[in-house]
């Protein structure tokens, strides 16, 4: 519904919503192709981690957004996670449509210092988040359209 009438997208991100985080090679994937906790980290001094609301954006749009912010050849796919999982891990999800409609942020309650490690409990939280997420690789990342599996049912 919201993909056709995006203006009706509610501000509140419900627990049931699926969120897609663009994954870039090599920093977000292990040598064996699994998600790394770094995929859900924010830079120092910030608590927001960008995601796309799949209730509002199609995979093709998400992919176009991802390819627009990075160098060619680095986009690999999406980490898909439910808002409920994020909240159960202790973080939150908030709409941030000021960037573009369908954009949201995972917000952590821990703000990291530059060049100093996160508390171990926070790293353990990110590990749980990665475990609760599903990595959906794009079989053809160099193309403009999404050809991977259905993101809305990928968890």
């Amino acid at each position: 519904m919201h993909k056709e009438y995006p203006d009706s997208l509610p501000l509140h991100v419900s627990d049931e919503e699926r969120l897609a985080r663009a994954i870039f090679h090599p920093f977000h994937l292990t040598d064996t192709g699994k998600l790394k906790p770094a995929a859900f980290r924010a830079p120092s001094g910030r608590r927001d981690v960008s995601v796309n609301r799949l209730v509002a954006l199609s995979p093709d749009t998400c992919k176009a957004r991802a390819r627009a912010i990075t160098n060619p050849g680095t986009f690999r796919g999406f980490a898909v996670i439910a808002a409920l999982t994020v909240r159960q891990c202790g973080s939150d999800v908030v709409d941030s449509r000021e960037l573009y409609l369908g954009h949201a942020d995972i917000t952590h309650d821990t703000v990291l210092q530059k060049n100093e490690p996160a508390p171990p409990e926070f790293n353990a939280r990110l590990k749980r988040m990665v475990t609760g997420a599903s990595y959906c690789p794009d079989p053809a990342p160099e193309t403009e359209t999404w050809s991977g599996r259905d993101l809305s049912i990928s968890i």
Partner: protein, 198 residues
């Protein structure tokens, strides 16, 4: 823990033997009819760890560190910050201090300019994040998650060293390397000569 024959006062007995690589210590339990006998025995294998196993090549890990040190602003497309020079130096120092038969870790840059070193086995994992002055670590052990953090000193933090010894117990020779354990009439433990390592 494995069952193996040992000789106590020239009598052959079946005993349960386990080995703690962190302290190079054997625990031997002899089950009797009315009570059991427990013996702790420390040993120093002849030959260094590098003679027991092939040294691990760190060349690739060092090259990766050099590459990560050159990451510029926004390296991850999400505003990632350059990796701190002190973080890279700390990672390099820990790699240099790793015992030869501990494999090189997977090295990951973090958006706040730190580095994470990861080791994993089939059933355990250790994650060690290094900053300019501090470390943060969590170990998914067989007994649950254990965490630690603190100020970086010389060498590997003790918590991480213990975790690595549990992940990679091959540092010490397994009991099977010894043909036979002996405990003489005075209760002094030893090995048969043919079973020496090194």
């Amino acid at each position: 823990m494995l069952m193996m024959p040992i000789e106590i006062n020239q009598v052959d007995i079946e005993a349960q033997v386990s080995f703690a690589p962190q302290v190079c210590e054997y625990q031997i339990i002899v089950q009797g009819q009315r009570r059991s006998l427990e013996i702790l025995m420390q040993c120093t294998p002849r030959g260094s760890a590098s003679t027991l196993n092939q040294p691990n090549d760190r060349t690739a890990a060092w090259a990766l560190l050099a590459e990560l040190a050159r990451l510029g602003p926004n390296w991850d497309a999400y505003g990632g910050e350059p990796i701190g020079g002190a973080c890279v130096a700390n990672a390099r120092a820990l790699l240099d201090a790793l015992p030869p038969d501990i494999p090189s870790p997977e090295v990951t840059p973090n958006p706040n300019g730190t580095l994470t070193l990861d080791w994993a086995t089939e059933d355990q994992a250790l994650s060690l994040e290094l900053g300019a002055t501090r470390f943060s670590s969590f170990w998914e052990s067989r007994h649950g998650i254990k965490t630690d953090d603190g100020t970086l000193g010389q060498g590997m933090p003790g918590f991480a060293a213990r975790a690595l010894a549990a992940l990679f117990p091959s540092l010490a020779p397994p009991p099977s390397r010894y043909e036979r354990l002996m405990i003489d009439a005075q209760g002094i433990p030893g090995f048969t000569a043919a079973a020496c390592v090194g």
